[in-house]
């Protein structure tokens, strides 16, 4: 079934104007697309936290649109000192160096401490428990080697067009990175 035919003289003037407008718009869109094509990318962008700019403020835990933030603490084991008194694991001036609740810094007990050999302990993060509050990151960076840092995990992140965490970050640390290299991992102390 064809669309009903247009008819009568006044309409065809409008039809002419319409055709003109359509042509103009298509040209405009073409120009815009052309201007962008040189700066277009086949790949997509994803969000990531730059550990060099992160101020460990704790906004990551509360600002993500997800109920449990897509930001998790990540451990750069090669930078870690494997200290018995880990300032990212233990609260300042802990009672004892045990995993009791009053000694831990992490509010959800997401850091698992395991003995390797004297005097080294390994600290692993359980991402299902981590909320991305940056308390351990603060402790590690202030007094330790700075091997703990926050990263957006892409198996959880929805990749919103505007990241709510990026908007609230006081260090402007959250930025777009290419999707094929989606992590900004720490390899040195600072």
């Amino acid at each position: 079934m064809e669309p009903a035919p247009q008819s009568s003289a006044p309409v065809s003037r409008r039809q002419f104007l319409r055709n003109g407008a359509r042509l103009l718009t298509m040209t405009g869109l073409g120009v815009a697309a052309g201007a962008l094509a040189t700066r277009s990318t086949a790949a997509a962008w994803v969000w990531q936290i730059d550990p060099a700019k992160c101020l460990h403020c704790g906004n990551c835990a509360t600002r993500c649109v997800l109920e449990q933030s897509a930001v998790k603490c990540v451990h750069a084991y090669s930078v870690c000192g494997y200290c018995q008194l880990c300032t990212g694991f233990f609260a300042p001036e802990p009672n004892e160096l045990t995993t009791a609740a009053e000694n831990q810094l992490c509010p959800t007990a997401a850091i698992k401490r395991s003995y390797v050999e004297d005097p080294y302990y390994e600290y692993k993060i359980d991402e299902n428990l981590c909320i991305g509050c940056a308390k351990c990151v603060e402790g590690c960076n202030r007094f330790g080697n700075g091997s703990l840092f926050l990263q957006i995990r892409h198996d959880r992140c929805l990749n919103c067009n505007e990241c709510a965490i990026a908007r609230a970050c006081p260090g402007e640390a959250v930025r777009r990175v290419p999707a094929d290299r989606p992590y900004l991992l720490k390899t040195t102390s600072r």
């Binding site: 449990q68 300042p92 009053e102 509010p107 007990a109 509050c133 007094f143």
Partner: protein, 573 residues
């Protein structure tokens, strides 16, 4: 009529679905608000208990309580997350049921259209168009009004037409700073630019001087700050709650060259905060880099005054939370100024170390410090070529990099309210844990060096106010009651220990081989600064002294309760 029962059933389904959605919504909302204080990292209850545990470390039942609560909160947190997830799915299902049922019921209940005759279509058309034009105009007014309200509510403090590269408000002269040259090390050493001299050590560059009063000038405002001297001028600060000032005297004849009030500092309350009378508003010794004099007062006003008496810049760093009144003196390095701003009775009340650019007052960096208030003055030292600022507060001795402020090392060596300042000599930092021990610390470590960098300690009759002093391989301590001890810097071997009958608050100075102790009542005692005890002499000055001596140009400058004194060789003028 045929469709009656199914339509009713559908409406019923729709209502039930709607109520179900509302119920699930209500439950989730209530749960959210109830949980606001129970998230494991937000709970004030848990925080309070943990603080209590810090005060009573071995309280077993308290530990158990904390663990129980912590587990409870964490479980609640996970349950809440799970509830939110299931709630969301339930809501989705409910909304779907509602939409389907209600939509179908409404469709079933639709009446076919029955267009009524229209008589005045033409007039209606015009009226409709006119009304629409009016409402569009009304919307334009509403949009304009809303924008106007937003503009009025959000007043901007940035200037309306900002040229690119606007200089920070209130900080002119940043360009001048780039052109200005920093003073050289020898200039620093030749003058007395801060509390206890260029390196805070208290040792004069000159090797001999007399104790004859060459001149004395009255000081118009009270204060306990020590004088600082640069290039023939002596600078003093003084003040009361009403007014605080910096004074400049000529070193040759004591004439008052200028006095400058520090007032109208932006942000500083018109009524200065109360400071204990014993401490005074001008307890902190000023500092100078030969370009400006910097002074800080007990109400938090920091001022930089040019050498001609005009104000370069001011800054308000308060309010000061200090039970005895702020008394830490300023430190300078090159043309940078350091302010150790330790606050409060607990370690988390905003204590910080600030580095400012002397020319402009721009803050270069600021580091939070995990300490309560302290009354010791920091020193700048260069062990192994790395320039550090060494700070003391209870319980941490912390060394920061002078350039960028990074914390280099810290040691937990102090035990009570810290008043004596440290000194750096023979590669060691000598500091006092007030009333407890003298510690010699090697400042070349990294991280927590509490157990690894202490060279030696000495106990017994340790001062709690007077700072130590070191020269020529020896370090001396003086208690407030007048017990003077001498130790070797290398190993802490005690050479002598004598009671010299003088009550003293001021820190001692060394000129040549003389240890000069300035007593509270004006009694000046001179001992030989050597391995054997020898009292060289005493003299009585007609004033009371809390401030420490300054040495420059062959003279001693002393700030008394009423006058500024210049002491020199006999017959000097």
């Amino acid at each position: 009529m045929k469709n009656f029962p199914p339509q009713r059933a559908l409406w019923l389904t729709a209502w039930i679905a709607g109520l179900f959605c509302a119920l699930v919504c209500a439950v989730m909302v209530v749960e959210h608000f109830a949980a606001a204080t129970e998230d494991p990292w937000k709970s004030p209850q848990l925080l309070a208990l943990k603080e209590k545990l810090a005060a009573e470390p071995n309280n077993q039942p308290l530990e158990k309580e904390i663990r129980r609560l912590d587990l409870q909160f964490r479980q609640k947190f996970r349950r809440r997350l799970a509830l939110d997830r299931t709630g969301a799915w339930l809501l989705l299902g409910g909304a779907l049921a509602l939409a389907l049922a209600a939509g179908k019921a409404a469709a079933l209940g639709e009446t076919p259209p029955l267009p009524q005759p229209k008589s005045d279509a033409g007039e209606q058309f015009l009226k409709q168009a006119a009304r629409a034009r009016g409402s569009v105009a009304a919307l334009a007014v509403v949009v304009a009004g809303s924008l106007a309200v937003i503009v009025l509510v959000n007043t901007s403090v940035l200037p309306a037409n900002m040229a690119g590269g606007q200089k920070p408000a209130g900080e002119n002269g940043a360009e001048a700073a780039a052109v200005e040259t920093a003073p050289t090390l020898s200039e620093f050493q030749a003058n007395w630019p801060r509390f206890r001299g260029w390196d805070g050590g208290g040792v004069a560059a000159q090797t001999n001087c007399g104790t004859n009063v060459v001149w004395s000038s009255p000081i118009p405002a009270p204060g306990h700050s020590s004088p600082v001297v640069w290039d023939g001028r002596v600078f003093i600060s003084g003040g009361t709650a009403a007014k605080r000032e910096v004074f400049c005297y000529s070193a040759t004849n004591g004439a008052l060259l200028w006095q400058r009030a520090v007032e109208n500092v932006p942000g500083s309350p018109a009524k200065a905060q109360a400071v204990p009378e014993d401490t005074t508003y001008a307890a902190s010794t000023p500092a100078t880099d030969g370009r400006r004099v910097y002074a800080i007062f007990g109400n938090g006003d920091l001022a930089a005054i040019n050498l001609d008496g005009s104000v370069a810049w001011t800054k308000f760093l308060g309010p000061m939370k200090n039970v005895y009144g702020y008394a830490t003196s300023l430190a300078v390095w090159g043309t940078n100024l350091f302010v150790q701003l330790d606050q409060g009775d607990t370690p988390a009340e905003g204590s910080r170390l600030i580095s400012l650019q002397g020319a402009s007052g721009r803050i270069l960096w600021e580091r939070s410090r995990p300490v309560p208030a302290s009354w010791a003055t920091p020193i700048v030292a260069e062990p192994a070529g790395k320039t550090q600022i060494i700070t003391l507060a209870n319980p941490w001795v912390i060394g920061y990099a002078a350039a960028g402020g990074e914390e280099l090392w810290r040691a937990q060596l102090l035990e009570s309210e810290v008043v004596p300042s440290p000194v750096f000599a023979d590669g060691l930092v000598f500091l006092l844990s007030p009333g407890a021990r003298l510690i010699a610390l090697r400042p070349d470590g990294a991280g927590d060096v509490t157990t690894t960098r202490v060279a030696w300690t000495a106990e017994g009759d340790i001062p709690d106010i007077v700072s130590p002093i070191s020269h020529d391989g020896l370090v001396f301590t003086v208690t407030g009651g007048g017990i003077v001890k001498c130790f070797g810097t290398a190993d802490g071997k005690k050479f002598w220990d004598k009671f010299v009958d003088v009550d003293v608050d001021a820190s001692p100075g060394i000129v040549g081989d003389r240890l000069i102790i300035v007593g509270k009542s004006g009694l000046l005692v001179m001992l030989r600064a050597g391995r054997e005890f020898q009292e060289i002499g005493r003299c009585q000055l007609p004033d009371k002294f809390e401030a420490s001596p300054a040495f420059a140009g062959g003279y001693i400058f002393l700030r008394g309760a009423t006058n500024l004194y210049c002491l020199g060789p006999n017959g000097a003028k």
